[in-house]
């Protein structure tokens, strides 16, 4: 699975959480552009963890602000 495939799987997981249909690029921020609150973050992270069978700890989440950073982190964590 390459970065594009990870990107596409995360993108479809993100869809139900992107209620305002904000256009997604690598620089889209979760807190700012997507206005995710802590509960949404928790549900979204849980969906990604289950999809890729990984853990994204709170410590790692703190380093992830943009969509592109998330895709990179998931690639790394799932050993891509």
């Amino acid at each position: 699975m390459d970065r594009a495939q990870v990107d596409s799987r995360i993108s479809s997981l993100l869809e139900p959480f992107n209620k305002a249909s904000v256009p997604i690029t690598d620089s889209t921020t979760f807190a700012g552009d997507l206005e995710f609150d802590s509960l949404t973050v928790m549900d979204f992270v849980a969906a990604i963890e289950d999809e890729f069978d990984i853990i994204i700890s709170m410590n790692q989440q703190a380093e992830i602000e943009t969509y592109g950073q998330l895709v990179d982190a998931v690639c790394k964590l799932s050993g891509q």
Binding site: M42, A46, E49, D50, I55, S57, M58, N59, Q60
Partner: protein
């Protein structure tokens, strides 16, 4: 406090002060200002001018029934407890002025730890100056760099702050979701230390955890287990040791965290454990070492109260009867509650929004009833709720009065 708040949207401009560090609080300031602008009494600056009993006080000038104190067993005015505190105050002075590991361990600190060991039938007990510090200290100390803390997302602030103070990887899971916890534990790299943190009773909705199943899963993964039993001590379980005892798994719990500020009726926190190396925590746990110990009067009242709580089954039964009656009565009136059945002495009444919640809170206060208004971010799922906690000293008549107050207030606000 309110004066500062009213000025915050027009801060004084000082030369050289380029960035106001308080700007980050503007959203909270706005929320508070909007709430108060609607004309309600400030729910967060209530003053109890006089306390008449565990269930009655003069609040903002009114004779008020207290239904939001966590004083579950009504020990605050127990004559034996008060006498013990008075004697310790006279014999040992007003404070210790020292850390437990220096000049702050008095006879009374030993005695309260003895009382806890007897109450829980465990080998070790360590007393902190608050319950908050007990979680802060134990969690941050035992889970270090490279270890994993797996915890329920609805955990109390003191648990989250314990995680934040330490260096472990922090992995939350959905509230009471055994499979979500199981999956996360299964993904932790081999060789890493694991601590699962759970609560017996979750204080916002008053629901309990399926500890038996959760602890079994945690054990299968080789994790150590910490359970916060702050809201169950004294009345849940055959000996009042909490939800883990009630579900028959207390022997599977490595660390029980508790507090003196609820059923015990004073202030302080503790951890009890059978871990053979437990005592070393007294030297390595910073929130234990770098703070003054509890005053002699406080540990004397706590020790007396804990020993009495071992024999209060009649009071426990009355507390359960009160909880069942309030829960059933509010449900029958048409209120939406946090749990379908009463699971603890907390009954959470869910409000449509903060505005209605604050209006309902004030209407109840005018009726002469104090409950807790709980709002985001302290609440799960961003809900606003009125949290009621029963006391064993509430009389049958008072519970009836409380239900009448809820009915009138709920109808006047338009919630029922």
């Amino acid at each position: 406090m309110s004066e500062g708040v009213s000025q915050a949207d027009k801060p004084a401009v000082r030369e050289g002060a380029a960035i106001d560090l308080f700007a980050k609080f503007d959203d909270t300031i706005r929320m508070r200002r909007d709430l108060l602008a609607s004309g309600v009494e400030d729910p967060f600056s209530l003053v109890m001018e006089k306390v008449l009993s565990p269930t009655r006080a003069i609040c903002n000038g009114r004779d008020t029934i207290l239904l939001g104190t966590y004083n579950y067993m009504g020990m605050t005015f127990d004559p034996d407890v008060i006498a013990a505190g008075q004697k310790a105050l006279a014999d040992f002075g007003s404070g210790t002025t020292g850390s437990r590991v220096l000049n702050g361990t008095y006879q009374g600190h030993r005695e309260v730890e003895d009382a806890l060991r007897a109450f829980y039938a465990m080998d070790h007990a360590m007393v902190f100056s608050t319950g908050y510090q007990a979680n802060l200290g134990i969690i941050s100390t035992i889970a270090g760099k490279g270890d994993y803390i797996v915890l329920d997302i609805d955990s109390h602030a003191s648990i989250w702050d314990g995680c934040a103070l330490g260096n472990a990887e922090v992995v939350p899971f959905k509230h009471n979701d055994i499979e979500a916890m199981n999956r996360r534990l299964g993904r932790i790299p081999e060789g890493a230390g694991k601590l699962v943190v759970l609560e017996g009773v979750y204080s916002m909705l008053g629901d309990i955890a399926p500890l038996k199943d959760m602890i079994a899963v945690a054990r299968e993964h080789g994790a150590m287990v910490l359970v916060d039993e702050a809201h169950s001590m004294g009345f849940i379980g055959p000996n009042g040791r909490g939800v883990a005892e009630d579900q028959g798994v207390l022997d599977q719990v490595d660390f029980v965290i508790g507090t003196f500020s609820k059923s015990v009726g004073t202030v302080g926190g503790f951890c009890v454990s059978n871990h053979p190396k437990f005592e070393i925590l007294r030297l390595v746990c910073r929130p234990y070492v770098f703070t003054a110990s509890l005053p002699p009067s406080v540990v004397a009242t706590a020790a007396t109260s804990i020993r009495k709580l071992m024999h209060e089954s009649a009071k426990r039964e009355h507390l359960w009867a009160n909880s069942r009656r309030l829960h059933g009565g509010l449900r029958d009136l048409g209120f939406r509650l946090g749990t379908d059945e009463p699971q603890s002495a907390i009954v959470a009444v869910i409000m449509p929004d903060l505005e209605k919640g604050a209006a309902m809170w004030e209407a109840l206060l005018r009726e002469g009833l104090y409950v807790n208004l709980a709002r985001p971010p302290a609440t799960p799922a961003n809900i606003t709720l009125l949290r009621c906690s029963l006391c064993a000293e509430h009389s049958d008549e008072e519970v009836g009065t409380i239900l009448g107050m809820f009915e009138r207030a709920g109808k006047s606000i338009g919630i029922i």
